[in-house]
Assembly symmetry: C2
Homo-oligomer: 149 residues x 2
DNA sequence: ATCGAATAGTTCAACAATAGAATTAATGAG
DNA sequence: CTCATTAATTCTATTGTTGAACTATTCGAT
């Protein structure tokens, strides 16, 4: 009991430390990849829209766990930059679909590739077996986290 | 070659997805634990100062990978709330040490415990062996990320 | 010992992200 | 038809962030 509790606390602390370093470090590395005119959050929005065609502001808000007014702000900035268009739905005139422009597609896919290259460089420090085991546990964790929301 | 590249890309994609869910989900869960008057970033600053007594603004800036003016802003807010004090160094009058007040200590340790409880609930979904293997790889990753900055 | 470079911290202006309340417009259920 | 609901926007305020300019202090090379 005593020992288990101690182990648990130790694991939690180690997780907190490692998580902080990875999160902060990756954020900085991704930020360095961004062109002058794009923030990391804006890139993540473009990336989501590239892989979820015809999404709406509400879907983005749910995915990113923020209020809809945040999404309005961010898509307005992206629209002003000419990276996406607001396309009204034919059936329900309340809903607005978000569609990347050609330039939005281009820049998003370019940046996605760059980010993947950064991650590839990191993953190559691990042997295949360890990487797979890690990601499998990570996915379980993601599932547990999602369920706990 | 072809197969390895494909595996790598698949692993990267799985990592990106899982990482997003975990990061966003944990942020929301931690935010829910915060009292009215404290943001998550402010809590993280208090937590750092509790475990790194006598730190300075420069050390905080380096740790959080942000500019010093961001740190000035955040510690001014925490100081205004009475959660920390600026204590000038005796030797070098340029440096200001940051010291939690009693209330800062109290609230930080309280919140730290709550956050750890959230993490404990998550970790208990995994058997000991898997959790340890996961965290060991995670720490390796943190080391690689840190080295790549 | 002094003068210029470097360092620690702050200030200021600008911008991005966010929350939350109020608003508009359209849909849907009784 | 009316009223509640839904999708999106607007507006205000706050927080975090950057980068440049600034103050005060210390350090180092001559």
């Amino acid at each position: 009991m005593e020992k288990d509790l101690c182990l648990l606390k130790s694991l939690i602390h180690r997780y907190e430390v490692a998580n902080f370093v990875v999160e902060r470090g990756l954020h900085v590395k991704v930020k360095d990849l961004m062109p002058e005119e794009l923030t990391v959050d804006q890139f993540k929005t473009l990336r989501f829209l590239r892989h979820n065609v015809n999404s709406t502001a509400s879907e983005l808000a749910q995915f990113f766990c923020v209020g809809k007014s945040s999404i309005t702000a961010i898509i307005t900035r992206l629209s002003d930059k000419g990276l996406l268009d607001r396309v009204p739905d034919d059936g329900d005139r309340r809903v607005i679909h978000l569609k990347l422009t050609e330039e939005g597609e281009r820049i998003s896919s370019l940046l996605e590739e760059r980010v993947q290259n950064v991650l590839a460089d990191l993953i190559e420090h691990f042997d295949e077996k360890e990487a797979i085991a890690f990601i499998e546990t990570f996915e379980k964790l993601a599932k547990v986290v999602k369920a706990a929301l």
